[in-house]
């Protein structure tokens, strides 16, 4: 693919931004998703409702709408991600990816937390552990094993969905392809290069998830 070396700067910037979006958004959605999952398994019904409402709303609306909201709506609500507008768009895209994928992360984590046998939780409580201690020492450590492989699948989906940040104007991989296409009119080549670079990200990720699945299955 000589077009990649011909437009090395454009493609490498695109690849870098795609990877950055993936990493930041993944970290963010794991943190937010974990908080929502804790809400969803909470003994307090109102907290459970808030968690469920979040998951159902953000999972059933388009990611693109959420990206538009963070990119073009939130500034009107007084949210400024950065004084540098380009950096601001990058962060808005990250925020959109986080709010969307956190809903999926929360569902995975919730099913992980609920898969721990109730007897264990009752035993922990009757031994005098507080609710938070039970979460910290009994429920969460065991849930982590179950949760890791499906989280890997969310990471793959997220890395693909970063392409939607192109609509906000973030110069990630797909934007790079569009730039090269509009400069050269070599449409097929320009986008084949994009596809190849996405595969370089997603195929190793998929292999990693498969490996994790097998490992965790043996450990169980």
């Amino acid at each position: 693919m000589e077009i990649i070396s011909e437009f090395g700067d454009t493609y490498s910037t695109g690849l870098r931004l795609t990877l950055e979006l993936t990493v930041y958004a993944l970290l963010g959605s794991v943190v937010l998703g974990f908080a929502i999952a804790i809400f969803r398994v909470s003994p307090l019904a109102p907290l459970r409702w808030v968690g469920a409402a979040y998951v159902e709303f953000f999972r059933n609306t388009p990611l693109l709408a959420q990206l538009f909201f963070w990119g073009f709506g939130s500034p009107l609500l007084g949210v400024r991600f950065s004084s540098d507008p380009l950096e601001g768009l990058f962060r808005a895209a990250t925020a959109g990816l986080i709010t969307y994928h956190a809903a999926y992360v929360a569902e995975v984590m919730r099913s992980g937390l609920l898969s721990i046998d109730k007897g264990q939780l009752e035993a922990a409580r009757s031994l005098g552990l507080s609710y938070l201690q039970m979460l910290r020492y009994v429920q969460v450590p065991q849930a982590v094993r179950i949760v890791v492989p499906p989280l890997g699948n969310i990471a793959i989906a997220l890395s693909k969905n970063t392409s939607q940040a192109s609509v906000l104007g973030v110069a990630e991989l797909l934007t790079a392809g569009e730039l090269v296409e509009s400069r050269t009119f070599r449409t097929a080549e320009a986008f084949a290069a994009v596809a190849l670079l996405y595969l370089i990200i997603t195929i190793p990720l998929a292999a990693g998830v498969n490996w994790l699945e097998r490992r965790m299955a043996l450990a169980r």
């Binding site: 609306t61 693109l64 693909k160 192109s166 595969l199 998929a206």
Partner: protein, 240 residues
């Protein structure tokens, strides 16, 4: 928030404007669901086949396409699709953006759906195959009347979840200038400077659509007793 623009949302002309967008979203989703289900069934059967000439192309297609963003496919079909098909349909051949969107969504969704259907097929105990073959049934009878009906039934929740993903992804046709629901939201808020209100209203429509669909699939209560292996395969792509 711009409460002063709220009365606009019940203005008949504005309602018609958004209604036409919703109609396009629904039409695009409908055609893409129909087409991708047919292709997915074909791909799943090919990948499940023992003949390597059928199995390999299906495997490469499924694994390759599943690893790429759907937005890339929509854009490539819109840019390159006509060029690609001109040798077949003549020099004047064009693909309108609406159909480019449908084709892009179909290419992606059929690969994901094929894996869901295949997971359903492999979840049927092999004893049923043996029994049916021992009774003298041919492959297409076993597959068509015994295995597939059970497999599809088990996979209803996963299949419906993929359809809700498709409905959400149809908003990506914004990138190729199809005037569907979300694109119209953008047109609207660019005129009235109320992105928060408009995006919320549009999102609620998508939410109602998808939530109703997933409630319906839960109400059907199919696919409950799914073996773990099949569920794992089926859930692999649910975060798209």
């Amino acid at each position: 928030m711009r409460p002063d623009t709220w009365p606009l949302f019940v203005d008949p002309n504005v309602l018609r404007f958004f209604g036409e967008g919703l109609l396009l979203t629904l039409q695009m989703s409908f055609y893409a669901i129909l087409l991708s289900f047919v292709f997915a069934l074909l791909l799943a059967l090919m990948r499940h086949s023992r003949n390597p000439l059928l199995r390999w192309p299906a495997t490469v297609y499924i694994e390759g396409i599943r690893s790429l963003p759907v937005l890339l496919m929509i854009i490539v079909v819109n840019f390159q699709g006509p060029d690609f098909l001109r040798p077949v349909f003549g020099e004047d051949f064009e693909i309108v953006p609406f159909w480019a969107g449908v084709i892009g969504l179909t290419i992606y969704t059929s690969s994901v759906l094929a894996e869901i259907i295949r997971a359903g097929i492999v979840s049927i105990p092999p004893g049923q195959w043996d029994a049916a073959r021992a009774l003298g049934l041919r492959y297409h009878h076993v597959m068509g009347s015994i295995v597939l009906p059970q497999a599809l039934r088990r996979m209803v929740p996963a299949i419906v979840a993929q359809f809700t993903t498709l409905i959400k992804d149809s908003s990506l046709a914004y990138a190729i200038a199809v005037q569907e629901l979300l694109s119209r939201g953008k047109v609207f808020y660019s005129q009235y400077f109320n992105p928060v209100d408009t995006l919320l209203a549009v999102s609620v429509v998508y939410f109602l659509l998808n939530y109703a669909l997933s409630l319906a699939s839960r109400r059907l209560e199919l696919g409950r007793a799914l073996p773990r292996v099949a569920r794992d395969i089926a859930l692999r792509d649910q975060a798209a």
